[in-house]
Amino acid sequence: MIKTRISVKISAAALVLLLLFSSAATAFAATDYNSYYLISDEADLFAGSSFDGLSEKLETVGKHTGWQIAVVTTNDNVGSSQMDSYYNRVYDNNRSYFESDCVMFVIDNASGNRIILTHGDAEAYFTDQRMSDMKSALKPYLSSGDMLNASYEFADKTQEFYNEGIPSDGTHNNHVEGTETADDKLKRENKLLYVLKKWGWLMGLIAIAAGGIFAGVNVGRYKFNGKSGTYDLDKNSTMKVLDSRDQFLHKSTTSTVISSGSSSSGGGGGSSSHGSSGSF
C-alpha cells in the first residue's frame, strides 16, 4: 500500500516536471541546420526563395567564426521578462540541434519580442555595448517588419564583433528592452506601483487578516485571562515498577522504490553556460 502511494506521488511529480519543461521543448524543430548554422522558422517569416540565401549567409559567418549562427522564429508569445530564461531553456532542451558555441537570434512573432542569446566562446564577444550596437543596427529592419534583412544584419554584426576580438573592458549585464507589456513596463519603471497594482489586493487582505487575528487573540486573552491550573501528575505521583516485560509478537517489512528524483536539466550535450543576451 505504501509502495503504491509513493509511486503515485513520484509519477505525479514527474508529470508536473514533464509538463513544465515540455512547454519549452516540444514545439522546437529545426528547419535546417548543421554545426555552423541553424534556421527554425516556426513563425513562417521567411519565404522559400529567401531561405536558401539566409542559410548560406549564416553558414558562411559560422565557418568564419567557428560558432553556430542560429535564427529562430516562434509564435510562443513569451513576455519580454521571460524571453531570456525561456529561450535559454529551449537551447538547453534541444542540444541535439544546438552547438556549445552558439549565437541565437530569436524572434517571437506572437509577442513581438526579440532576443539575442550567446553560448560558449561567443559570450565574451557580445558585451553590453556591442549588444546595443546590434540593436541599433537591427532596429530599422525590425520596425519595418523586414525580418530577413534583420537576420542578414545580425549575421554581419556577429562577424564584425568576431573580427574585432574580445573587448578588454566590456560588461555583460543582461538587459531587457523592446516591446513590453504594460505590466512589464510598470514593473521596470516603478516596482512599488507594480506590486501594489498587481498584488495590493492580496496583501491588503493578508494585512486585514493579520490585524483581525491580532485583535481576536487579544480579545480572547482578555476574556479568558489566565490558564486553568492543571494537575501536575509528575509532581504528585510516585511509581515503583514491579513487572516490565516486552513480548515480541511479529514483524513485517515493506519496501518502496526510491525515484532518482534529481532531474538533470539540458539534453544530451552535457552542461552549458549562457552568456549575455539582449531582448528587444
Binding site: M203, A215, N225, S228, D232, L233, D243, F248, T256
Partner: protein, 395 residues
C-alpha cells in the same frame, strides 16, 4: 444559630488572622498572638460548637429529601444568626461558615457548620493580605495594554472579600497492571529501495503507584443567572461579593476557581476555626459519595498515564487491558484561600479571583475597543508594508 467570635485577650477587640505574619493581630491595641495561643485559648469554645452540628445535619437532610422526592431545595436558603458583638440579626447563605457582621464589621465564625463530619481536615491559611491581593490585581492589569482608560483604579473596587472555598483532596495508593501493544519501526535503504520494518510487541507493566492531591471542588452548582438586584436581602447585608459569586453560573465560578490553581498543599495545616476569623468561608456541600466515581476515573486515567510512561521507545502504544487494586485512599476536606474582588466598571459588576496563597489572578477583563482597533490597524499596516517590500524584492 450559635457563633464563634475571636477577641483580643488584652483588650477584648475583635481579632482577625493576619496573613502577612501568619498570626493574630489586634488592630486596636497592637497585640499579636500566635495561632497556637489563640487555638489554646478558644479550644473549649470550639468544642462546644460541635453541639450545634445538628443544625447542619438537618439542612443536609432537607436537601437529600428534596432531591429524593424530586422537589425543589432552595439553594439560596437563608439562615439568620445574632451578631455576638452588637446583637444585630444577620442573614447568611446556608453554606456560609464564616463571615462578618454588616453592622459592626465583627468577624464571626459559624462554627457549627464546620464541626463533626463537616469539619475540614486541613486549611491553607491566607498568605496574601488584602493590600497584596490588590497589588497582584493591579500588577496583572498593568501588563494589559488594551484595558479601558481608568480601569485599573483602586477606588473602583466594589467589594473585596477573602473566602475559604471547600475542596476535596484525595491521595491513593494502588497496584496497577496494564497490557498494551506497541510498535518499533526501523528504516533503512538498500540500492534503490527503502525498507520499513515494523516489529509489534505486547507490553506487560505492573507497578505500585501513589497519586497525591487529586482535587475536586466541594461546592454545589447554583442554578440561575447572576442577579444584581440592589433590593435583595443579601445585598442589604453587604454580602455583595459573595452573593454575586453564589449566584454565578457554576461554569463561571468553577472556571474562576480552577484558574487560580494550583495551591501548594504542603503549606496546608490542620484545620482550626481561628484561621477563618476575618474571612468568609464556605462549608462543603458535596460529600465523598457524590464525587467518588469522578475521582476514581481520574485516578485510573493518571495511573494509565504513568504506566504508559514506562513504555517509551514504542510507537502507537495501544492499551488492551487495565486493572488496579486500591490499597489505601485518603480524603482530605481542605479549605483553600481565594480573594474575591467585585469591580464596578461602567455600571457592570465584574468578579475576579486571586489565589490567596500565590497571587495568581483570574477574571474576564474589559477591552478598550478603540485602542485595540488602532493597534489592529497598526499591525495590519506593518504586515502590509512588509508584504509590499517582500513583493518588491521577490516578484
Amino acid at each position: 444559630m450559635a457563633t464563634m467570635e475571636y477577641k483580643c485577650p488584652s483588650c477584648g477587640a475583635p481579632l482577625s488572622f493576619n496573613p502577612e505574619n501568619q498570626n493574630f493581630y489586634c488592630e486596636y491595641c497592637g497585640s499579636s498572638f500566635t495561632t497556637q495561643q489563640i487555638q489554646e485559648l478558644y479550644a473549649e469554645s470550639e468544642k462546644t460548637e460541635s453541639i450545634n452540628e445538628q443544625e447542619v445535619r438537618s439542612s443536609e437532610e432537607q436537601r437529600a429529601k428534596a432531591q429524593k422526592s424530586g422537589g425543589d431545595f432552595d439553594e439560596d436558603f437563608m439562615v439568620s444568626y445574632s451578631c455576638p458583638s452588637c446583637g444585630a440579626e444577620i442573614m447568611t447563605a446556608e453554606s456560609t461558615a464564616a463571615t462578618e457582621c454588616y453592622y459592626c464589621g465583627n468577624p464571626v465564625v459559624l462554627g457549627s457548620r464546620l464541626s463533626g463530619e463537616f469539619k475540614p481536615d486541613s486549611v491553607i491559611p491566607f498568605a496574601l493580605t488584602k493590600d497584596k491581593a490588590v497589588d497582584a490585581f493591579m500588577k496583572m492589569c498593568g501588563k494589559k495594554k488594551f484595558l479601558p482608560a481608568g480601569f485599573a483604579n483602586k477606588t473602583q473596587f466594589e467589594k473585596m472579600q477573602g473566602v475559604y472555598f471547600p475542596y476535596w483532596y484525595v491521595d491513593e495508593k494502588m497496584q496497577s497492571s496494564a497490557v498494551a501493544t506497541g510498535k518499533k519501526v526501523r528504516h533503512w535503504t538498500s540500492g534503490n529501495r527503502r525498507y520499513t520494518e515494523t516489529s509489534t510487541y505486547r507490553l506487560f507493566r505492573t507497578g505500585d503507584i501513589e497519586i497525591r492531591n487529586v482535587f475536586e471542588e466541594a461546592l454545589r452548582d447554583k442554578q440561575g443567572t447572576p442577579t444584581q438586584n440592589s433590593q435583595s436581602t443579601r445585598q442589604a447585608n453587604a454580602q455583595e461579593a459573595m452573593k454575586y459569586l453564589d449566584n454565578y453560573h457554576m461554569q463561571q465560578r468553577h472556571e474562576m476557581l480552577q484558574c487560580v490553581h494550583p495551591f501548594d498543599v504542603t503549606k496546608a495545616v490542620p484545620f482550626s476555626m481561628s484561621y477563618l476569623s476575618g474571612f468568609k468561608a464556605e462549608k462543603r456541600e458535596i460529600g465523598k459519595d457524590e464525587i467518588k466515581d469522578t475521582i476514581a476515573e481520574r485516578m485510573d486515567t493518571y495511573a494509565k498515564r504513568l504506566l504508559e510512561g514506562t513504555m517509551s521507545g514504542y510507537q502507537g502504544v495501544s492499551l488492551e487491558n487495565y486493572s488496579d487494586k486500591t490499597f489505601d485512599q485518603r480524603w482530605r476536606y481542605t479549605l483553600l484561600p481565594v480573594w474575591i474582588i467585585t469591580y464596578k466598571f461602567k455600571g457592570q459588576i465584574m468578579p475576579y479571583a486571586i489565589n490567596g496563597q500565590t497571587g495568581k489572578t483570574y477574571g474576564k477583563l474589559p477591552v478598550a475597543g478603540g485602542k485595540l482597533a488602532l493597534w489592529g490597524a497598526i499591525v495590519a499596516l506593518i504586515v502590509f508594508v512588509i508584504a509590499v517590500l517582500g513583493g518588491m524584492l521577490f516578484l
